[in-house]
Symmetry: C2
Amino acid sequence: MSKIAVLGTGNVGDTIGSKLIEVGHTVMMGSRTADNEKAKAFVAKHPGKASAGTFAEASAFGEIIFNCTAGMGSIEALEMAGEKNLNGKIIVDIANPLDFSKGMPPSLSIVNTNSLGEEIQKTFPQAKVVKALNTMWCGLMVNPMMLNGGDHSTFVSGNDTDAKEKVKEILKSFGWLDKNILDLGDITKSRGTEMYLPLWLSIYGATNNGAFNIKIVS
Amino acid sequence: MSKIAVLGTGNVGDTIGSKLIEVGHTVMMGSRTADNEKAKAFVAKHPGKASAGTFAEASAFGEIIFNCTAGMGSIEALEMAGEKNLNGKIIVDIANPLDFSKGMPPSLSIVNTNSLGEEIQKTFPQAKVVKALNTMWCGLMVNPMMLNGGDHSTFVSGNDTDAKEKVKEILKSFGWLDKNILDLGDITKSRGTEMYLPLWLSIYGATNNGAFNIKIVS
């Protein structure tokens, strides 16, 4: 079991952090300020298993870092975390660079020949960035068995094979079936999973149901 | 049964045109020049059911137009077809604006806040553009039953409801199950299906198998 930093106090951070604790890890939730109310509520829900602090404090604590911040602010959040607190560690990047500033639907602030996953890797070259779980609603990330007996697809990409293996183990502890975790390759493959978001949003809009995923059929 | 123009003489045009003939339509294949060798070979394969001509001749012939040209050249091809030959007709746009000019992987030449489907609709406002079938290998477009008993997903989007219904009927004649044809909404939803291509390419690269599709699981 590991000490894990969860950066971000929104629904995604709360959901991921709670699941990590459920499967046995200890979590420090990081936010911009040390006195974040949502982080305090998270700690109160998980006595003895959770703590809270700044992005830097959480990242210093964590052996693995989950980036659950909003994608548009992820680079700034990680810069506040501090390179020395990230070097050598796995950053599991589950964010999408969705830009809601011009209304709906959102566009992507990084797209096409680059991606947020790549940008994080370039900004922190000594960290091991693994893109994962960014293709679905957070409730499904941590409870894949809720749909189709768990038989649907999720993706990992990153430059470090050992780091991807460790992230796969975490995904399996969440309930993901090994056969449904597809390693797409290096971190440039983040482009595909991030650029899938407009289709995800269109399907959500057409069906009024966010609790769906895609399964690769071959 | 309809008179249908298939613009483009590549694998996609040949595959779509052959299937349209198989299910009972008459097809004129359009290309840049009237003496295209691939178009001649297509005509020879389908005696009495197929003809060939310029983009303009084929579009004048067709009651429905299938855009099977390479996405980077689709607007130019349709301009050669001529607005008067497209006005009031359904354009089934199955192209993707993939730019291979900078090597692999391709980027998208139109992306994020626009799409090829939208650009065609804006360029030919009196045509009824329906984006369809652009999310898979062409062999699967016309033979969905080859995978999982035909149980996987395909999408349509466009501004004209009747046009989308007509395209859905054609998809059903290809073997698509009604329950698996998802209407995403207006033509702006082309963005999602076109921006899915990088993920499609990544999955293809990771599995070495292009004969796959995604199924929405909910």
